[in-house]
């Protein structure tokens, strides 16, 4: 039956090409849009997800990780002295103006860490020595941001808000959600680069003592005045949720993905329905001769699944091309196995749903109609 379904479907190659193109575009839109969304969400919680902290403490009411309210040294000591805290490290996350080699400026997102920080360090280091990060004015930038920062090698010197900075290491692929390149440095330099007051920073990263659950510790730390505390997964989720839900970014991506599905549904549905109408006499003849509806419906569903398979393969290929092309634009299309498998299932369901009109037509087909000329 597969062979027969395929032959009937492929008989009119132009129509099949249109159907396959419709599914391909649909698949590509879903993969690229959701892949971009996942890429952005990955960037939104990149720092949190790569930390080994159990709990993150921030100023009370801070909803956005990237624009978190400053807290002061007293908060740090309260946290560090709370029972169940094995280690506490400060982190500053603020914005600065990076002076480019050609005299222009580029906004950057500065990450300031305690000297000897262990709970969060630059990763994917491709050049230089990240251990020098504790030196005054030492910075680490990302090689993929070279087009923006014009920094291509270790040892290059720049200024951030007029303060001296020397590149001591380069990472690869660490990007921010805000599209401002990350600049890693020590806490004091970060304050100079962001014009933060001397005792201010944004987060305390906490390592729980052995046997202390992060959830219980987060509750305990949240009880401290003017502070909120979250486990690392909670903090990651909050960072993603803010950008996804509060800014409409998620709705934008998913609306485009949904439009892709609608395009696929309409195109495949129309092609399959036309194909069914064209073969109505043949299907009627088979029904007249005793073929059950289920047997004919199987042919139609097989045709839908063949359209889905071809469209998915082509659309997946287009998505890979788009992923490759978007690297140049510094955009991450994150095609996870779950996304690929989910899209494959969605494509099959979409094509089968598109076949529903045809199914209804066949179910209602009166076998006696074959005698009507």
């Amino acid at each position: 039956m597969w062979t027969l379904a395929r032959k009937i479907l492929l008989h009119d190659r132009i129509k099949f090409t249109v159907a396959a193109a419709g599914v391909s575009i649909s698949v590509m839109l879903v993969l690229v849009q959701i892949g971009l969304y996942l890429g952005f969400m990955q960037n939104a919680s990149n720092l949190i997800d790569h930390s080994t902290a159990d709990v993150w403490v921030t100023g009370e009411g801070s909803e956005n990780f990237d624009f978190s309210a400053p807290i002061d040294e007293r908060a740090f000591y309260k946290v560090a002295s709370t029972a169940g805290v094995a280690r506490a490290e400060r982190m500053l996350l603020g914005f600065g103006q990076f002076r480019l080699a050609d005299g222009g400026t580029q906004g950057v997102q500065v990450i300031g860490l305690d000297p000897g920080a262990r709970l969060l360090r630059p990763w994917h280091v491709v050049a230089g020595d990240v251990r020098r990060l504790g030196e005054p004015g030492a910075i680490v930038t990302d090689i993929t941001e070279a087009p923006k920062l014009k920094v291509h090698r270790v040892g290059e010197r720049r200024e951030i808000f007029g303060a001296r900075a020397e590149v001591v290491a380069l990472t690869s692929g660490i990007r921010s959600f805000t599209t401002s390149p990350f600049v890693w440095t020590d806490l004091d330099s970060a304050r100079a680069y962001t014009l933060y007051p001397a005792d201010r920073f944004n987060f305390v990263m906490v390592e729980a003592a052995p046997g202390v659950s992060p959830e219980a510790l987060a509750r305990r730390l949240s009880a401290l005045p003017n502070l909120d505390a979250y486990t690392t997964p909670q903090m990651s989720g909050r960072a993603q949720h803010y950008w996804s839900a509060r800014t409409g970014v998620g709705a934008g991506f998913f609306t485009t993905a949904a439009l892709g599905i609608i395009v696929g549904l309409v195109v495949v549905g129309q092609i399959l329905y036309n194909g069914t109408l064209e073969h109505l006499k043949e299907y009627g003849t088979l029904k007249a001769m005793g073929a059950r509806n289920s047997a004919i419906l199987r042919v139609i569903v097989y045709q839908a699944l063949i359209s889905a398979l071809v469209g998915f393969v082509l659309g997946g290929g287009l998505a890979l091309l788009a992923q490759h092309a978007m690297v140049a634009a510094n955009l991450t299309v994150k095609l996870t196995p779950a996304l690929v498998v989910g899209t494959a299932i969605l494509t099959a369901v979409m094509c089968c749903a598109a076949a529903l009109l045809s199914v209804v037509k066949v179910l209602r087909l009166d076998p006696a109609s074959v005698f009507k000329g």
């Binding site: 032959k7 006499k281 007249a288 001769m289 047997a295 009166d366 074959v370």
Partner: protein
Amino acid sequence: MPTTSPIPSPIASPIASLAGVTKIYGDGDTQVTALADADLSVYPGEILLIEGPSGSGKTTLISILGLLMRPTRGDVFIRGERVSALRERDLPPIRAGAFGFVFQGFNLFPALTAQENVAIAIKMKHPRARNADAEARRLLAAVGLANRMHHKPADLSGGQKQRVAIARALAGDPAIIVGDEPTAALDTKTALDVMALMRSLASEHGRAVVVVTHDPRLERFADRVARVEDGRVIAVDTISHPHAA
């Protein structure tokens, strides 16, 4: 030369029969009686022509006979079993075992070869059939198309297409072949060839062949002719063939 008699003296029990069948379309002022009190039996090994002017009720008659349409009144029997009272979902297996259909327009899938057109009918009638392709080849060989099995309908002549349709109608070895103007789209020689094939299906394999036609030339192949006018079976004539004596 036809002779008129109410019902021919059969040599066997009928495979299918209609008893007092009436079909009324619509209701109230728009009510139309397409068939009224029709009695008709079909016997194994015979060719029964159904003749009559357009709109006389021929199509309704074979639709009810082929279990494609329910009568408003009256009964339909297949191999002695009253099937007109069965539920709709019980009819496909009976149709699959009892009927094959041949149409003026062939109704072949243009994308499929002759063999595939026959095989799909076998598979749809009997989804678990394992030897559908071999059976399709055997049936096509039986209708004289052994060398055209892999041709698509577009590459076949009208007569060859109708032979494919006949082979498809034979899928599942039905007892009755129903033809709706099967020769109307064919030239005279091809039409006579097709009817000769139908004749052999009836004579050599004991099938009943029921053919709706306007073409009086086909009577030479028939055993009986049922004449339908204004929704009534006005006569069933037995055809005497001098050469058959």
